[in-house]
Structures are given as structure tokens and as C-alpha cells.
């Protein structure tokens, strides 16, 4: 995949900035984004599981 850059919340990030570690952890290489995510990532919002695609507009 070709690298694409975008500015999200004032931080330039690209598809190369995120990967998964062998333990399943999310690795964010962009240090600015990483700091913000670590701070906010402590939230424990409940999530409704969408195990099957429910999007009305989805091709699926």
C-alpha cells in the first residue's frame, strides 16, 4: 500500500504510523499521536459488538 499522509487533530499521520505487535498491542509510531492516545486510551467506554456488518449503506 502506498503511504498516505493526513492531518488529523493537528497531527500529521500516515498509514505507516500504526502497526500491530506480536502480542496484539497497537503500536503507534508517531510520538505525538501516541501520547494523546495513551492519555485518552484509558477510557473504558462500553462498546456494542458489531459482529456482523450492520451498515445500511455498506456493500456488505
Amino acid at each position: 500500500m502506498s503511504e498516505s499522509k493526513n492531518v488529523i487533530f493537528g497531527i500529521e499521520i500516515s498509514s505507516e504510523d500504526i502497526s500491530l505487535g506480536p502480542d496484539g498491542s497497537v503500536i503507534i509510531k508517531n510520538p505525538n499521536l501516541f501520547t494523546k492516545v495513551k492519555d485518552k486510551g484509558k477510557s473504558t467506554l462500553p462498546s456494542f459488538p458489531n459482529y456482523q456488518c450492520k451498515n445500511e449503506n455498506s456493500i456488505l
Binding site: 498509514s15 505507516e16 500504526i18 498491542s25 492519555d39 486510551g41 456488518c53 451498515n55 456488505l60
Partner: protein
């Protein structure tokens, strides 16, 4: 796309883990519109142990673990569902910072009263069960592998769930709509209204069927684009009659982000291979790695990255369905 930093962070957080587990890809049904090929069998003991080791390694670092059961029909392998769920529940008790949620997509046929109680006991509290209309219509499309009808047993299982005292459960009744069943749906809405509307544990999701790659795709009677919205609006007016709609209507958030768009969501298939999407099961772009016997993951970062592209564009169509226009 209106998404805040907090929500965005939640999508990316490595303190959150969602697993979608296929304990088997066999099914006791042969729904006429199904896209699955039932090639893969039951999960082996080695893969089950691998998943437990993954959870054991991951749990101390997590705030939230969600396990969603999928298949095939997951209750064909009920023992695996119970086994891994019990282990996840144990971990959530061991690590006090860890919240554990679990749900299952099941056809409901094997969801007997005792099985339902077993699942709730192990923390499986969210259910998605599909119906295709009243009994004689449902039985034409949601058939057992031997051709027998399935409605009566599913309906009785649903009535048992409704009669239960569990207040921590959520049941989504996914009602499929097609050109073939629409003539029968008005009466069926009244049946649903009589039995489930007003009980806040039940949500009703009206979903037009789609062509998802199954062998009968060319013969499916799909609602066209212009028919969907007015049809659903009409059926909802019968279902809710302007009451209880907030309580029972399954409303898909406009800003819905598919699990396949999230790096912290992984599907584990019954052979131990890893995927992002639960529909594109035969698409090699959806095969992103495998789980090892020690619980570690071999991830192809090149295969993973395209699924996450919506996080870099915040394009709502991509985030809600990254399979669309997947590079």
C-alpha cells in the same frame, strides 16, 4: 465525519482489545443467501490453547476486552464458546482494571434455555439473532442443512429469553427484508410488536438482504435503493406505532466505525488464521496473519494497513466499511 479525539483514541487504544472468534465454520443452517462456504471445521485444541495464551499475555495490559462469537454457527461448538468465555471471565476477575464484554451472532436454533443460561453465566450477554418473517416465510430461506424449518424452535427460545429475569442482556433481532418476504412483513411486525416491543432488552434491526458472494446471489430478490427507505419507514410505523421507538429501535449510528477499521479488533478463524472482515472470508487481502501456539500473532503489516486507512482520512464510508474500495 464527526468524531472526537476521545472516540478516535478509543479506536486506536492498545488498552482495548476486540476478538471476533469463529469456534467453527460449520453451520446447522443453509440459508439461501449465505455467503459462507463451510470449508473450515471446528477449532482444534491447539488453537483454543493459543487463544487462551494470547488472552493471558494481553489481559494485564488491557482496560477492555470484548469477545464476539461468530461462525459458522458458534453454538455448534458451544463447548469452545463456554471454555474460552470462562477463561476470559477468570482473567477479568484476576485483573481488576479489565472490563470484559461478550456477544454472539447465532441463528438461535441451539439457544435452548439451558444453553442461554450457560452463556449468560460466562458473560455472553449480547445476542444477534436473525428472522426472515413469519414461520412459513422464514422456513423457506432459513433452513436447516437437512431442509427442515427452523422458526418454531428459534421463536420458542426467544420467548424463553424474554421470560427470563436477566436484566443485563441485549438481544438484537435482525429482521431480513427482501422482495419475496415484504408482502408478509406487515403482519409479522405486529407479532414482533406484541411480543418484544416494550421490553428494553430487545432491539429490532430491519436489514435488507444483500448479495454477499453466496452461490444464490443472482436469484436473490433484493430491494432496490429507492425501495429500502420507504419500506423500512413503513414497517417501523407498524412496529412502533409512534411509541417505544427509542427503546427498541436498533439505530445504526451515523458515525459507525466497522470493527475491520480498528487496529485493536482482530478476527480469529477456526484454523487460527487472522482476518479483519467477517464477510470477505475468501478474499486473500483479508488474511492478515495467524496465531501461534504460544499465543503470539504473526501479522502481515502490509495486509493490515489498507483496512486501517479510514483512520487517516476520517472518510465515513471507508470507516463504516473498509472492504469497499479496498486497495
Amino acid at each position: 465525519m464527526s468524531i472526537g479525539l476521545n472516540e478516535y483514541s478509543f479506536l486506536l487504544s492498545d488498552k482495548v482489545q476486540e476478538l471476533i472468534i469463529f469456534p467453527t465454520e460449520q453451520c446447522n443452517f443453509r440459508c439461501t443467501y449465505c455467503y459462507e462456504d463451510f470449508e473450515l471445521k471446528r477449532m482444534s485444541p491447539t488453537i483454543i490453547q493459543s487463544i487462551k495464551k494470547f488472552l493471558e499475555n494481553r489481559a494485564p495490559k488491557l482496560n477492555q476486552l470484548t469477545i464476539n462469537w461468530f461462525g459458522g454457527e458458534p453454538l455448534v461448538a458451544k463447548d469452545i464458546v463456554i471454555d474460552i468465555s470462562r477463561y476470559a471471565k477468570y482473567l477479568s476477575r484476576k485483573y481488576h482494571d479489565l472490563s470484559y464484554f461478550s456477544g454472539i451472532t447465532t441463528n438461535g436454533f441451539l439457544l435452548s434455555p439451558s444453553t442461554f443460561e450457560d452463556l449468560v453465566e460466562e458473560g455472553v450477554t449480547q445476542y444477534q439473532i436473525s428472522l426472515d418473517g413469519p414461520e412459513n416465510i422464514h422456513n423457506l430461506t432459513r433452513k436447516k442443512a437437512n431442509g427442515e424449518g427452523t422458526f418454531e424452535r428459534i421463536w420458542n427460545n426467544l420467548l424463553h429469553i424474554k421470560s427470563s429475569n436477566h436484566d443485563n442482556i441485549e438481544i438484537t433481532l435482525r429482521i431480513h427484508l427482501s422482495k419475496d418476504n415484504i408482502p408478509y412483513m406487515s403482519d409479522f411486525m405486529l407479532e414482533l410488536r406484541n411480543h418484544f416491543v416494550g421490553d428494553p432488552r430487545f432491539k429490532i434491526f430491519l436489514k435488507p438482504i444483500e448479495r454477499l458472494g453466496g452461490p444464490n446471489d443472482s436469484t436473490l430478490g433484493l430491494l432496490n435503493r429507492d425501495e429500502k427507505e420507504p419500506t423500512i419507514k413503513h414497517l417501523k410505523s407498524l412496529l412502533y406505532q409512534n411509541s417505544f421507538s427509542e427503546m427498541n429501535d436498533f439505530n445504526l449510528n451515523q458515525d459507525y466505525v466497522c470493527y475491520a477499521s480498528k487496529p485493536n479488533s482482530i478476527a480469529i478463524r477456526s484454523d487460527g488464521s487472522l482476518a479483519k472482515c467477517t464477510v470477505a472470508l475468501n478474499d486473500e487481502r483479508n488474511s492478515i496473519g495467524k496465531i501461534n501456539p504460544d499465543g503470539s500473532l504473526n501479522i502481515s503489516q502490509d495486509r493490515l494497513a489498507p483496512w486501517l486507512r479510514g483512520l487517516f482520512t476520517l472518510d465515513s464510508e471507508t470507516l463504516s466499511c473498509p472492504k469497499r474500495m479496498l486497495p
